[in-house]
């Protein structure tokens, strides 16, 4: 069973961290762009590089194991508005 630890921000996660996107608190245009790039609520992401910029790998969508491995470079201020969860079993 997945336990959600709420309130974590993507910008605070270390390199190598893996978790799910919960929500974004961004202007509509940026939220929509991230979503279209695959970084949407429920998506599993891996932090490839922490800092400015942060590099994340979108590993899968909400329901499927799609293994898209899309890498996205994100300005740190945007990462500060992305809420994520750690997955623990």
């Amino acid at each position: 069973m997945v336990k959600i630890a709420s309130g974590m921000l993507l910008k605070d996660q270390p390199t190598g961290w893996i978790g799910r996107v919960v929500s974004t608190d961004l202007p509509d245009s940026e939220a929509a762009m991230l979503r279209a790039m695959g970084l949407r609520p429920g998506a599993v992401v891996r932090v490839c590089r922490r800092g400015t910029p942060t590099v994340v790998e979108v590993v899968s969508g909400h329901q499927c194991k799609c293994h898209c491995r899309c890498r996205i470079g994100i300005a740190s201020e945007v990462c500060g508005s992305i809420v994520v969860d750690r997955e623990s079993h």
Partner: protein, 666 residues
């Protein structure tokens, strides 16, 4: 008759090519079109597209490569263009808007799940559709197997698995396009609905290799070694290229190498072009009878256009090498790394490549701003790009630095570097001011996909270079040609007869003891005539008229003529100064340079005093002395308003900075 029916009657079948960025869409388009493509723009937008006409039996297919977008529903200029083309509301310049006859959706097989979202958005338009799963070879290498039959069934549209790079499957695209049908499936209309639909479609048609993240999730399946290796290698390369210290060092080395190649490899074709135009000029003057028409053709059209086209090799090399770098995946890393340095000045990381390119020539730099997604960011970059020291400034820098630091090469080198630094500082400062005044707002925080590292495609780079070179040559043959003729006229009229000094020298020529001495007198007479003619031309008169304006900067009428006549192109300053001060137009000749350095006014004071040289150097670093750049700015910003803003701002900054410099040093 509606546009679609009209096209059908003409046997033309219009296909819109749609897809995410980095899906190999351009590579596929180039493979299908070869050299038959041209660039056209969408009226009322800042977007353009490549168009190609392909033949399939009796059908002529018009293939339009739309901008790459992640979704049709985003509020970006690219998405709006794609949306309106598919909805039949927008067409390329000169064409009537109407529904396309078919849509060719290109998706990346190695990132299929995400790419399916735009497929769903497209299918909802109920247009005949062919879905091409590109990079299938890369997907297979990563262990992803895609069942085309199941995918086709789920989408309700024809599906082809291809590799645009190797050509696998590409030969069937055109014939399948011609028989594509309206999809028999309609994906949901909400964002969440389409995402779930895409996940379901992917789950049904693809058998992904387990990745390094799946340990424990898939009983009995270990992580894929290939997948782990790719991710680990990419992590390691990214860590190095985006590193706060190593990243800029690598970037500096890459860019230094790039510019070394551009400047060294472009030298001989530039010399060849220059020689060809000189020969053409001499041929015209030799074949046609002397007169206004001959003079205009030789000195206005050929010499003027030649001055611009001489930069074509540099422009081609810049685009070719940049395209190769972009294709490897490196430029996206460089842009995201530069984002943190540029954003305080109101520019996004995307501006890095155009600003860098402007160091060779502002024209390709400004053309490269098309890759900047936000229009205000793009406009800010266009406005400041000409502050970067381009190669046309080099002859002016060489002249002035050699006067200032004659026999002091080390100090000369420092001054040279200082010129480049001043241009960069002025550009960034101007961007910051622009973003707080005429283009208010911060640049958008950068969100950029970092594409997979791969071997670049020479074919794609070649075709892009050809396209950009075509645009540049077209500009040189239209706007720039007109400008050259006007400037020739201003610099050549009213006509002056032989100068009194020239007559005197010519009279003395036959009295010389040797033929060489006589020839020397004739040459001096010709130089005296040239100086006399320039002084009495409209540019000469204007120089005298504006002398009071430039006097506070330390420029007398001769230097004012130099500044005015180089308004079209900075490098003309050197030739003009050579003519005005020595009568010889070869500004690169060492003897002429020496004479320019030593040139004095009637009262014996040097024309190029130390304060005047510094003032001129600062002026030429900062001033917008390039009409072709203004023409390109007007075109790329879709109006002359921004070209005038650029001219006014750069001229103002240059004037004030040169004034301060002169007054401090005089």
């Amino acid at each position: 008759m509606n546009p679609k029916a009209e096209r059908a009657a003409d046997g033309v079948f219009r296909v819109a090519m749609l897809g995410n960025p980095n899906t190999g869409k351009t590579t596929l388009f180039n493979r299908l079109s070869g050299l038959r493509a041209k660039t056209s723009n969408f009226p009322g937008t800042t977007q353009d597209a490549r168009v190609a006409v392909l033949e399939s039996g009796a059908t002529t297919i018009e293939l339009i490569d739309l901008p790459g977008v992640y979704s049709l529903e985003l509020e970006t200029s690219e998405s709006r263009v794609c949306r309106e083309v598919l909805d039949g509301k927008l067409a390329l310049k000169g064409e009537r808007a109407g529904d396309p006859d078919a849509v060719l959706v290109v998706v990346d097989g190695s990132k299929l799940a995400r790419n399916l979202t735009i497929v769903g958005e497209s299918l909802r338009r109920r247009l005949p559709t062919l879905v091409v799963v590109n990079m299938i070879d890369l997907a297979r290498r990563e262990g992803i197997e895609i069942d085309a039959e199941i995918l086709s069934e789920k989408l309700g549209a024809a599906v082809l698995l291809v590799s645009a790079r190797s050509g696998e499957g590409c030969d069937k695209i055109v014939s399948m396009l011609a028989i594509s049908r309206i999809p028999n499936q309609t994906p949901p209309g909400t964002v969440e609905g389409i995402e779930r639909w895409a996940d379901d479609v992917y789950a049904a048609c693809a058998r992904p290799a387990p990745t390094h993240l799946d340990e424990g999730d898939h009983a009995g399946e270990g992580p894929s070694e290939a997948s782990r290796r790719v991710a680990d290698t990419t992590d390691r390369i990214d860590a190095m290229l985006i590193h706060p210290v190593a990243g800029p060092v690598i970037l500096a080395v890459v860019m230094a190498g790039l510019f070394w190649v551009i400047f060294s490899a472009a030298k001989w074709p530039m010399d060849a072009i220059s020689a060809a135009f000189d020969a053409a000029k001499a041929w015209i003057e030799g074949v046609l009878p002397a007169g206004i028409l001959t003079d205009m053709l030789a000195n206005g059209v050929v010499a003027g256009v030649g001055t611009t086209l001489v930069f074509l090799p540099q422009i081609c090399l810049l685009f070719f090498l940049m395209s190769l770098l972009e294709d490897t995946g490196y430029l996206a890393r460089a842009a995201i790394m530069m984002d943190r340095l540029l954003r305080p000045f109101g520019l996004p990381g995307h501006s890095f490549v155009p600003l860098l390119g402007s160091h060779a020539c502002a024209l390709p730099g400004i053309m490269a701003t098309r890759a900047i997604p936000d229009f205000r960011d793009r406009l800010a970059t266009i406005l400041v790009a000409p502050f970067m020291s381009c190669s046309a400034r080099l002859p002016v820098y060489v002249l002035l630095v050699s006067i200032l630091f004659h026999d002091q090469p080390a100090l000369g080198a420092v001054a040279f570097v200082g010129c480049y630094a001043l241009g960069i500082v002025a550009g960034l400062g101007s961007a910051m001011i622009a973003r707080r005044t005429i283009l208010p707002g911060k640049s958008r925080p950068m969100i950029l996909e970092l594409p997979t590292y791969k071997r670049p495609s020479l074919r794609t780079a070649f075709l892009l270079t050809l396209d950009r070179a075509g645009i540049f040559v077209k500009s040189a043959g239209t706007t720039i040609l007109a400008i050259c003729i006007v400037l020739w006229w201003l610099g050549s009229y009213p006509r002056s007869g032989p100068s009194p000094d020239g007559d005197l020298l010519r009279a003395q020529a036959p009295l010389q003891a040797s033929a060489e001495g006589a020839r020397d007198f004739d040459e001096r007479a010709a130089r005296a005539d040239a100086m006399y003619a320039k002084e009495r031309s409209m540019v000469g008169m204007m120089g005298r008229a504006v002398e009071p304006v430039f006097r506070p900067l330390g420029y007398d009428w001769q230097l004012s003529v130099g500044v005015l006549s180089s308004f079209a192109a900075r490098e003309v300053f050197v030739n003009t100064m050579a003519i005005v001060t020595t009568g010889n137009e070869d500004g690169e000749d060492e003897g002429v340079l020496e004479r320019v350095r030593e040139a004095r006014r009637g009262d014996g004071t040097p024309i190029f005093s130390r304060a005047t040289c510094w003032s001129l150097l600062v002026y030429y670093v900062l001033a917008m002395q390039c009409l072709p750049t203004l023409a390109v700015t007007a075109r790329e910003s879709r109006g002359v308003k921004w070209a005038f803003v650029q001219l006014g701002w750069m001229s103002g900054v240059a004037y004030v900075a040169a004034l301060v410099t002169y007054q401090m040093l005089a």
